[in-house]
Symmetry: C2
Subunit: 311 residues, 2 copies
């Protein structure tokens, strides 16, 4: 199968939506800009690489799911709605067309659930390993875009889901928190939000740096995943479950802050809307520019970075 045959096969079943004027097959895709003078565009790109973000043994559907899901998680973190995606495939010469069908099945399935159109892409030779680079265009109401830079002293800090141990499986089948984030943006004044990709401590650090503030987290409040607890009990474990929940990457949960006066409404509303998804208040934003973890043994500094891709 050559490049043109592969592209024809992969593009024959791509999800479209009402805004697509010209899909794959021309020099560029042509789409309607989102309607409304109060709408802005969100742009995001990310990539997954074999041997880094997944292994050759990973089911291909999960590879496609993860490649798109990472970008959708970032759109969610702005309170936005994803609209269009482009996919660049970096392929070794001996690519397996059936495996790629599986990759696209996972990618298309996730796209369809959120009405995201896959409007094109490109195929290039990446001799040693499979790489998927995904670019996503989304939209958000101009005055409700949620940045990392809006956290204020006194804010309550919330996190969705349970953290740590994502590499046990969650990083391949996570659901981007689009519905939750859009609901938050619509009903509350969310001061700052980020999706957890580097680990809670690292990503909280991005909010603190962007907002020029500090934070106090309560160690006993951090929601720890079962996977992180299990891993901590395994022989030779290198992290406690708490440390894993603070520093493991790829949770793809929402971390956000709201005024403390909104905290109870947020919790109550969330429980009604998303009863299957935990939401936990884990601490508060402080004026003093440091990140503190309150433990039974007293306060400790939070590590600055949870996970470094190149260290």
């Amino acid at each position: 199968m050559n490049e043109f045959e592969l592209i024809a096969r992969l593009t024959s079943t791509l999800p479209r939506n009402a805004s697509v004027l010209v899909g794959p097959g021309d020099d560029c895709a042509v789409v309607e800009p989102p309607a409304g003078a109060d709408t802005v565009l969100l742009l995001k790109t990310d990539a997954v690489v074999s041997g880094v973000h997944f292994t050759p043994e990973t089911p291909p559907e999960q590879v496609g799911h993860k490649a798109l899901g990472r970008c959708l998680s970032d759109i969610a973190a702005m309170g936005g709605t994803p609209l269009h995606a482009l996919v660049t495939l970096g392929l070794p010469k001996d690519f397996d067309a059936d495996y790629l069908d599986g990759v696209y099945a996972g990618l298309n399935d996730l796209a369809r659930r959120y009405d995201v159109a896959i409007v094109g892409g490109e195929t290039v030779l990446n001799p040693d390993r499979l790489m998927l680079s995904v670019a996503v265009v989304g939209s958000a109401p101009r005055n409700r875009v949620i940045l990392r830079s809006g956290a204020r002293p006194g804010d309550a800090i919330f996190v969705s889901g349970r953290l740590g141990g994502s590499l046990e499986g969650h990083h391949l089948d996570f659901e981007p928190r689009l519905a939750e984030a859009q609901w938050l943006a619509r009903h509350f004044s969310v001061h700052a939000m980020i999706d957890l990709s580097d680990g809670l401590a690292g990503d909280l650090g991005h909010i603190l740096e962007g907002s020029g503030v500090g934070a106090e987290l309560l160690a006993h409040a951090i929601p720890i995943s079962r996977a992180a607890r299990r891993a901590a009990k395994a022989p030779g474990a290198k992290k406690t479950a708490l440390l894993a929940s603070l520093t493991d990457g790829e949770d793809f949960e929402l971390l956000f802050t709201v005024a403390s006066s909104d905290a109870v409404s947020v919790l109550d509303g969330w429980k009604q809307q998303f009863p299957g998804t935990p939401l936990t208040c884990i601490g508060k934003i402080t004026a003093e520019r440091q990140a503190i973890l309150r433990t039974r043994e007293g306060p400790r500094p939070l590590p600055k970075h949870g996970y470094l891709h190149f260290s």
Copy 2:
């Protein structure tokens, strides 16, 4: 230097433009959609890979130039204007920060010349080789988007520049034909257009297939580059200069068709506007769905594909 330090260094000098609301550093970039109800969005992604699209010896500025230039060439082929770009860097662990500075210098320089904002991107580990994946958002007037599918029997076929031998150097320093394409779209009814990346024969094939038509090219009219002529004279040359001009990839020139009644106006206007850039009428569109090359020895079929990335 770790990932965060590298990103801070590379993003400190990125080109912005008036439409950027939030640049690099948040989960997504936030930009103004292009104004006007009659404007549509163009979306494109492409990538370059070390050892495939450039070599470790290629000056880094040219790597960056080519990575962005390929996408801009596609925006040009729609008659559009590029607005924003995102860059995903796939990096080996032992990346050279100074080399990457050079890559970004080339990329930023090209972006600035066309007022394209580099609004963000991502850094991932690609263990064996450098890869740059670029996504570009552009705009075009709704009724002047130029597709591959509008060629009609009787149309004159034009090509810009001189073709073949691009690997001798042109593929690293070509200028995307944005000014030329926008001028064409503004002043003429261009029926079909494509940028030459696979080679004249292959890319003409895309127009013919998309439009359901055929073509007759005149062999003596094809503008052959000096590089292709030189390569054809070298000992052990595998292609004649004519074959190179038909099948070599990465010319990044414009191939387009207009009604034959517009042909003289197009040629005259182009010569005035772009005196340094050749424009050549190389044949005509026919109703019969085949591609013919008229040579002194008689008509011959054009090869269907000029260049296959995976064959």
